[in-house]
Subunit: 296 residues, 2 copies
């Protein structure tokens, strides 16, 4: 039996709970929750953690919206009149510049014309990338992908490198990760298996984040390191506001602004023409923000 | 004789000098200059002032770029093959939350098909608007416009209210000002007079900014007031990155990123679902960020 919207939605709510619990355990501080409704149909649960020990600002959102097919979906599903979209999306901005900023999203769309697809991804934005940690991160993602098809990881990593690129800066938002979209049945995979993949990605989040936090949380930081973190957060805001499809679509179609912009950094800096000193840790960091291979 | 590109350009360079001198006089700190060239033709002088007494981050840019007509101009001038664009653009982010952030731009386009137009505007973004000062500001702009045509002010104010609106916030970026574009000869005005208007707008800047600085520079501020200023700067960044035509066009067509993004705030804050206390100065400020009439 194919998993329907109710089963997928239930999984996603459980995932939101499990991730929030793990973050609260790592942080010591609790999330606050806002439930919201969309006038045209559906709604969500936005959970936010502010001024924690680990997380300076973090959001873990679940949403399920439905209604008439909007303009942007008409091209994909010309015969559909109604749609469902559900997903979990999270962004965690750390206090400590040595803990990477992390983003994950898993989502599912369907229309009443019988069309459906999955999408998602995880990507990492460290201010000070540590090569062994980045390699470990990609190893985790490869393991998840290889459980399904050994060709997936390379393609989804390349897709991520492309998606999170900031053309006007000639650099990526961070070190990348995996990204996939419009994942439909075919090539030997049915809906059950693709739903399994969504769960494999979502369920891997906690161990990845736990590793990143425990490896880096005891490092002290300087003013210069906090400054550089805020510079990188400026780039994050630039990407999300200028290029991110979800953000732009949400803002231009009357989505819930506070949930859409929850991804924006708590504090960001724009310094005119800031170029790190050659050989400095910041200059070395920049070298990571170009597509490359990392596997252990 | 009609003013050509050389005369307009010379005026704009002189304007940049005069404005920078006045700001340096008010601030005590000097601008640093970067000259840059555009591979496809032309270039500019970017001037930046950082960590001043008055200006936390400010930029006053002159540019003159030319070359083959880009895609976006083809609709306006279908028979043209080459264009010139020149202008002065400035944004001043103040240290003191009681001094308004200010933006001005005056610009001129022409093509080799004989088509040309002027555009520009001044608008004000106070974190804590003072009604009498806002009224004085609009009075100044009305006086400039009325020297040409008494119908201009109302139209240009309405255009500004529309342009600097942030739909996803249901509010304006600030209190507005005047904005005009595609100003061509006609309705009794020739090129000499429209160039005069550009100069009238540009030359009024110094007295407006001097007034705003001297009225507010001696006010002390609290942490809460600095916080609110940074929240409003977040909105400024949202507008510029999501909606501003010049910014988006520049970023997507390989403009000089650092000059385009000079307008971004030195430090901004995004606080999840921040709503000012009813009756607080911040709540009162919000009331100013909707279109209204102010004249003294």
């Amino acid at each position: 039996m194919n998993p329907g919207i109710d089963i997928i939605k239930t999984y996603l709510q459980t995932l939101q709970d499990a991730i929030c619990l793990e973050i609260e355990r790592l942080d010591g501080k609790s999330f606050t929750e806002d439930s919201w409704q969309r006038p045209e149909g559906g709604g969500g649960r936005s959970r936010v953690l502010r001024h924690g020990q680990v997380v300076e600002k973090g959001g873990v959102n679940f949403s399920h919206v439905y209604g008439e097919v909007p303009e942007f979906l008409r091209k994909e599903s010309p015969t559909a009149s109604r749609f469902d979209a559900t997903g979990v999306s999270l962004v965690l901005h750390p206090q400590n510049p040595h803990i990477p900023l992390i983003h994950m999203n898993v989502r599912y769309f369907q229309t009443d014309a019988g069309d459906w697809w999955f999408g998602g991804g995880i990507d990492l934005t460290p201010a000070y990338p540590v090569e062994s940690q980045v390699a470990w991160f990609f190893d985790q993602l490869k393991e998840v992908c290889d459980g399904f098809d050994t060709s997936w990881f390379a393609g989804m990593k390349a897709e991520c490198d492309r998606y999170f690129y900031i053309p006007h800066r000639y650099e990526m938002r961070g070190v990348g990760g995996i990204f996939y979209d419009h994942q439909r049945a075919g090539k030997g995979f049915d809906k059950v298996q693709l739903f399994d993949f969504m769960q494999a990605v979502g369920n891997r989040f906690n161990s990845i984040y736990r590793y990143m936090v425990t490896q880096n949380r005891d490092k002290s930081w300087t003013e210069q390191e906090k400054f550089w973190q805020k510079i990188r957060r400026g780039r994050y805001a630039e990407f999300n506001l200028v290029y991110d499809r979800g953000t732009i679509f949400g803002l231009r179609t009357n989505g819930r602004t506070e949930s859409i912009l929850m991804s924006l950094p708590p504090e960001a800096i724009w310094e005119y023409d800031y170029v790190p000193q050659p050989g400095s840790p910041e200059a070395l960091a920049l070298g990571f923000f170009q597509p490359r291979d990392y596997l252990l």
